[in-house]
Symmetry: C2
Subunit: 337 residues, 2 copies
């Protein structure tokens, strides 16, 4: 049985999403059990009608406070103790859970990941990897906001961690890894990416060299690596653009009675497309480089999205991603900072 600790108050909608998502994850993955961390009374009420089979695999861990979405690192450390997120991470440290999940503040998760779970040898701060849809399926994009000023060595560590995760969790054989840059040629980009490029070429990864922004979506690579500043901007710009395009399309399809009829007829195909490309089905971004598994769910995730993040945490714990990352960092002599 894989035990997950879920920060039930993380995410914009708190218990209303996390409790149903936990139940849905338990239904999908029968080898999971979940510790719901948060307001025990409220959660008990929400669990009143749950059938015994599922209820047996749910434990409740009382936590009285919630870490605010805009809490600064110092606040998290000073006042976070006893909060639902803190407790969820602590359960991993105590060996009572194999992984934790939260839809709360990324900053707070980074801070607690380092403080409570600890980083692997050679890793200063964890990297956040999200999955984005691509023509081929999906691409792991890291880092996403946690590491703004990175060294070439850190970019190389990101590449190794992304590659291990894609291979172990996604089952991709020899994942193709690309380093994001302003051009494909060796001479392009600043000193940092050129240094990382040279180091990556020397490793026995399936390193495909420099890639450009569009290569994230065209299936060229399984893992795309960049610093956390660029990664965060790319991810949010992509979310914004996709949102605008879908809004545009919807507005266009109700423009005339003819287009409305057309939309009605094409609706099943369009719905299948939206389901295939639904970002919530890719929700669940692991914090890589920690000694344990911690998965970030999008703050605005719905029940389906949160369920995906929970299942992702289960897979990563079961496949022992941290151990495998540690072994690879050691093998590639990246276990020093």
């Amino acid at each position: 049985m894989t035990v997950l600790a879920l920060d039930a108050h993380g995410g914009d909608q708190g218990l209303d999403v996390s409790v149903p998502a936990a139940l849905s994850a338990l239904k999908t993955d029968e080898e999971l059990s979940i510790i719901l961390v948060g307001d025990g009374n409220k959660m008990e009420r929400l669990l009143a009608d749950v059938p015994v089979g599922s209820r047996e695999r749910i434990a409740i861990q009382q936590a009285d406070a919630v870490i605010a979405m805009d809490a600064k690192p110092a606040d998290v450390l000073r006042r976070g103790k006893g909060s639902s997120m803190w407790r969820a991470f602590e359960l991993v440290t105590e060996g009572k859970a194999d992984a934790c999940i939260s839809g709360g503040s990324t900053t707070a998760m980074m801070v607690l990941g380092v403080k409570l779970i600890g980083t692997l040898p050679g890793i200063q701060r964890p990297a956040l990897m999200a999955y984005v849809p691509s023509i081929k399926g999906r691409t792991g994009l890291l880092d996403l906001g946690a590491n703004l000023n990175v060294s070439a060595r850190q970019l190389v560590q990101f590449a190794v961690m992304g590659s291990v995760t894609a291979s172990v969790v996604e089952g991709v054989e020899r994942p193709g890894v690309g380093l994001l840059n302003v051009g494909h040629e060796h001479s392009k980009g600043h000193k940092l990416v050129r240094e990382a490029h040279a180091m990556l070429k020397a490793l026995p990864l399936n390193y495909l060299g420099f890639i450009e922004g569009h290569d994230i979506f065209n299936g060229k690579v399984d893992v795309a690596v960049c610093d956390g500043f660029a990664g965060n901007l790319i991810l949010k710009a992509s979310e914004g653009l996709a949102g605008m395009m879908i809004k545009d399309l919807k507005a266009s399809l109700i423009e005339t009675w003819l287009s409305r009829l057309g939309a009605f007829l094409a609706a099943p195909a369009l719905r299948r497309l939206l389901a295939r490309r639904d970002p919530s089905s890719h929700n669940g971004a692991p914090l890589l480089g920690l000694k344990g598994v911690a998965v970030k769910s999008h703050g605005g995730a719905d029940c389906k999205g949160m369920t995906c993040a929970i299942l992702e945490a289960g897979r990563e714990a079961r496949k022992q991603v941290p151990k495998k990352i540690e072994a690879s960092l050691h093998k590639y002599h990246l276990e020093t900072t």
Copy 2:
């Protein structure tokens, strides 16, 4: 009459796109005249059937070589002289043209912009600003690949140059300017953006503070500022994502006979949407910070796209964008490096 020098061999399709685009621009803007720079014989042949009215406003400037798309800066300087791009820039320097346009290598354009046209006081290298569609209309995004390691002062210069251009060329009153960062809060981001943020707040621009990636598309700002590394990745990622989504949609609409019928009925509305959002209608990225006007056309631009870039160059020259940028840099004490 505004005189433009067009590098007729710039862009993937060379004369086949640039000559028809020049003719189309002349038709749209009757105050333009164009110097086509390139292979004179070939161009004469393409112009054989052009009516006298248009032909009178076309001059031909012979140039025997073309700068390769992957030419390094040193190659451009050493061997570029006499090429179509070099000659087009030179015509601006010589005062024979008010602006130049090329669909060739961005690197080469940067190099020749600095060498032949020269930068304004306080500007080391020009910034490249592209227009991307937004819910409100379009957003100017700069810098795009030219400046990879920027200072806070350079980010501030980008903001001023983008604001002046949006106001003068687009006619936006007090354009809203945002600085791209990983969060909206003052404490977010690395030292560089926080420094630039503090400097921007002190200027009488309509500075709206930090923005995130999605704000590029949601109409929050008219100008979005970032370093050239992040800007290039964002732009290309957006192009890649939009391409994937349109491909997806097309595939989805031919999935079943019902969806095909639906697509047929909705086609006029969908075509209007595509026309409204067509990236080629936003083609034409000015190199800002030069003493003269130079506009970069997308390498893969079709005739419509190249026409837009030519018209953009005409507008910028007529509105004397470089002079107005110079005045603003001076006013804001940004005319030292």
